[in-house]
């Protein structure tokens, strides 16, 4: 694989040569305590881009990239038509061009002093956002030096290659406020489902049944108590002419209780009132008649 790469590079070098010679390339930082990085001579085969990214500790950082552009061997001695540094997230086609500052060299007018300043604060929020959120997304700076075909000799080629990558350190990411919001785009959205409130907590049915049984048992004990102490006797059970009013009186009491129970179980209020209108007068008339005549026996 390495041999193949070497052959390719060699063949390219023999076949065509770059119209531009980039010498004394250097990357420096705003932080003067940080040592500048000397890159030397650059061409398409420059492999520094594959090496470790430059770590950025602060958004205030300004990365300067300077080099000498030697035009002595190129057909055109003018500043190249296209001389820019594309900075951004290359995979997302999210790049901004940075225009070069060009000065003539004091020693040789065929050599131009080119400098780019990558002010990280001035980069679009989107570029910074993707560099923050994903460690795999690095900010790439690619150099373009190109001239029109008419200004190139027959075997001369233009230059376009990545020069360096920038990556924010974890401590920098913690201090930087990311205010970027993804633009709205049509597409499938996250599914949503309504969250219903939890049903109210209820007692365990077994426990409820146990207590209901206890209540019933207490009543059973009451009846047993009455029976045990001879408090109950049917000797005085109404008979003869008192029997019919008694049945009416007692039946109306049971009827009233049934109407009440039915109302509780879901019968409408109007139906309940109708039923009571029948049962209650019967109970009242027959009850008063029965109790008046039976008063002495009770």
């Amino acid at each position: 694989m390495k041999l193949l790469k070497a052959i390719t590079v060699l063949t390219t070098a023999i076949g065509c040569a770059s119209a531009f010679i980039i010498k004394d390339a250097k990357i420096s930082f705003k932080d003067e305590t940080r040592e500048a990085i000397e890159l030397g001579q650059l061409d398409e085969t420059f492999m520094k881009a594959e090496s470790a990214p430059l770590l950025i500790k602060d958004l205030d950082e300004v990365v300067s990239f300077k080099f000498k552009l030697d035009l002595s061997k190129s057909k055109s001695k003018e500043i190249p038509q296209q001389l820019s540094l594309l900075v951004g997230i290359a995979d997302k086609a999210l790049e901004v061009p940075i225009v070069a500052k060009v000065k003539d060299s004091s020693k040789n007018n065929k050599v131009k002093l080119v400098s780019f300043k990558v002010d990280l604060q001035a980069l679009p929020k989107s570029v910074l956002h993707y560099a923050f959120v994903n460690d795999n997304e690095q900010i790439t700076a690619s150099l373009i030096v190109a001239n029109d075909k008419k200004q190139l000799a027959r075997k001369e080629t233009n230059l376009y290659f990545p020069v360096f990558h920038l990556q924010f350190t974890d401590s920098a990411k913690e201090t930087i406020v990311d205010t970027f919001e993804e633009p709205l785009r049509y597409g499938k959205q996250v599914e949503l489902a309504h969250t219903f409130p939890n049903p109210p907590k209820t007692a365990d049915p077994t426990l409820s049944l146990l207590f209901a049984g206890a209540v019933t048992m207490v009543n059973m004990f009451l009846y047993m108590y009455w029976i045990n102490f001879n408090a109950i006797s049917f000797e005085n059970f109404p008979s003869g002419k008192d029997f019919i009013p008694f049945i009416g009186f007692f039946g109306s009491i049971i009827g009233c209780e049934i109407v009440f129970a039915l109302y509780y179980l879901g019968t409408g209020i109007f139906e309940t009132v109708n039923c009571l209108a029948i049962v209650a007068p019967v109970g009242l008339i027959l009850g008063s008649k029965f109790l008046r005549s039976y008063n002495q026996k009770i």
Binding site: E95, A193, N219, A231, A261
Partner: protein
């Protein structure tokens, strides 16, 4: 050899089918051009393609100042589509002002606009700016110094929208020729914009003045962009007129064909044919029969169909979503395709399945808002009231275990009261007198 013949026959058949595609909205097409800018005869292949697509083409030459452009007669639109070649002059600006173009587009007319860097077609630029497409100003043209050819070539990889141009493996090596003079545009961040063909990374725009800042750099720029408004009317801008010329037609035919199909609504046109929601269950009781109340189970269905250039066919996708909204969505459910709709087999039926209405009453919207870049939009909304529970629809106390103790107490009190009345009446008063109450004397 015989196999090759069959392939040729098949290709001819496919081409004839493609060529016979029809717009879903109409065929009346007006082409506006200016003889001073370009000779229309150099675009004969393009016009033949329009005829193959069965468009009823009317051409209007604007170099003559007496020519008038009427897009409307009273309030009735006279054309379904408008193709604007680069035209210059004040006469044109008056006749086809940006406002007129916007009105035409808002009333359902599709527009295919071409610009070139040499001609300042102000109305087209103003119209495109309203859409959020900002073509490079006059004199600024696109360059790519890394291309060997003097003509600018763009590859299939630079195409961005599958609904406009579907990239198949057979097409992956295709290159499109835009000629020497190409405009590039910056695009706004709107959802309605359909980016179609992106400029290359090494490209840039530059003008005659050397110090002039470039309008676009690298992949910021686009050479073809579309726009679809909320009424599903489409506009497409192409940054080169030579792209359509006979010289490059053969090379660009595929893309031209797809662009015409998309812009003039022969493809990527979908619509809803049936929308319904009912109570869940086999009976499918509708809202009108039994209005919804909170926590009812309901099912929502929608049928979608797509225009294939000839007829409506089922539209099949896995991203059709339903929303139940009351200001904010309570549910967003991706519906599942159920096969052809029973009422209309040319439509695909989508269903949410059964879901429970929220425990909140009020006015709710049952909505399918299906918007995808390059596809016509579907917005089907139905507002319905969801009532709260009536007082007899809450759970009864005997369904709640806590109440069983109280119910048992009530029942025993009732029974005890009845028993007490019976015992009180039937037990003689003298019974208690029979009990010895004598005092012990010993």
């Amino acid at each position: 050899m015989l196999g090759l013949r069959y392939i040729q026959l098949f290709l001819v058949l496919v081409c004839s089918i493609l060529a016979a595609a029809k717009s879903a909205v109409g065929s009346r097409t007006l082409v506006v051009f200016d003889d001073r800018v370009d000779d229309l005869s150099t675009y004969s292949d393009f016009f033949n393609l329009l005829k193959d697509h069965e468009f009823d083409v009317t051409t209007l030459e604007l170099s003559d100042k007496s020519t008038k452009i009427n897009l409307f007669e009273r309030d009735t639109r006279l054309y379904d589509h408008l193709i604007l070649f680069p035209v210059k002059g004040k006469h044109y600006s008056k006749q086809l002002a940006a406002k007129k173009l916007i009105r035409f587009n808002e009333n359902g007319g599709n527009i295919l606009a071409l610009t070139v860097p040499q001609v300042s077609s102000d109305p087209i630029h103003l119209y495109l700016n309203q859409l959020g497409i900002y073509p490079s100003p006059r004199t600024q043209s696109l360059h790519d110094l890394f291309q060997d050819s003097t003509d600018l070539l763009f590859s299939v990889d630079q195409l961005e929208n599958e609904n406009v141009y579907s990239k198949t493996n057979e097409k992956k090596d295709e290159l499109f020729n835009f000629g020497e003079s190409v405009s590039a545009a910056l695009l706004d961040n709107r959802e309605q914009i359909v980016p179609i063909l992106q400029a290359s990374k090494t490209s840039f725009t530059s003008g005659n003045k050397s110090r002039e800042a470039s309008w676009t750099d690298g992949s910021q720029g686009y050479v073809i962009a579309g726009f679809q408004n909320l009424k599903n009317t489409r506009s497409t801008w192409i940054g080169s007129v030579k792209f359509l010329s006979n010289n490059h037609f053969k090379q660009n035919q595929d893309l031209i064909n797809e662009l015409i199909s998309w812009t003039l609504q022969e493809k990527s046109v979908i619509k809803a044919t049936e929308v319904s929601h009912t109570h869940s269950g086999d009976d499918k009781v509708s809202y009108d029969e039994l209005p919804y109340k909170v926590t009812d189970n309901v099912t929502y269905t929608i049928a979608l169909t797509q225009w294939d250039g000839q007829k409506w066919v089922p539209y099949v996708s896995d991203d059709v979503q339903f929303e139940l909204r009351q200001i904010d969505p309570y549910y967003r459910i991706t519906m599942t395709a159920q096969g052809p709709a029973p009422q209309d087999p040319a439509s695909e039926l989508y269903s949410t399945g059964s879901f429970m209405l929220p425990n909140r009453h009020g006015m709710f919207t049952f909505i399918t808002d299906y918007k995808r870049s390059g596809l016509s939009y579907i917005h089907e909304a139905d507002i319905k009231a969801i009532r709260h529970l009536a007082n007899d629809e809450y759970p009864r106390s005997f369904e709640i275990p806590n109440a069983w103790v109280y119910l048992a107490s009530i029942a025993t009190v009732i029974i005890s009261f009845i028993a007490f009345v019976l015992f009180f009446i039937s037990t003689p008063a003298s019974l208690s007198e029979g009990v010895s109450t004598e005092k012990k004397t010993n």
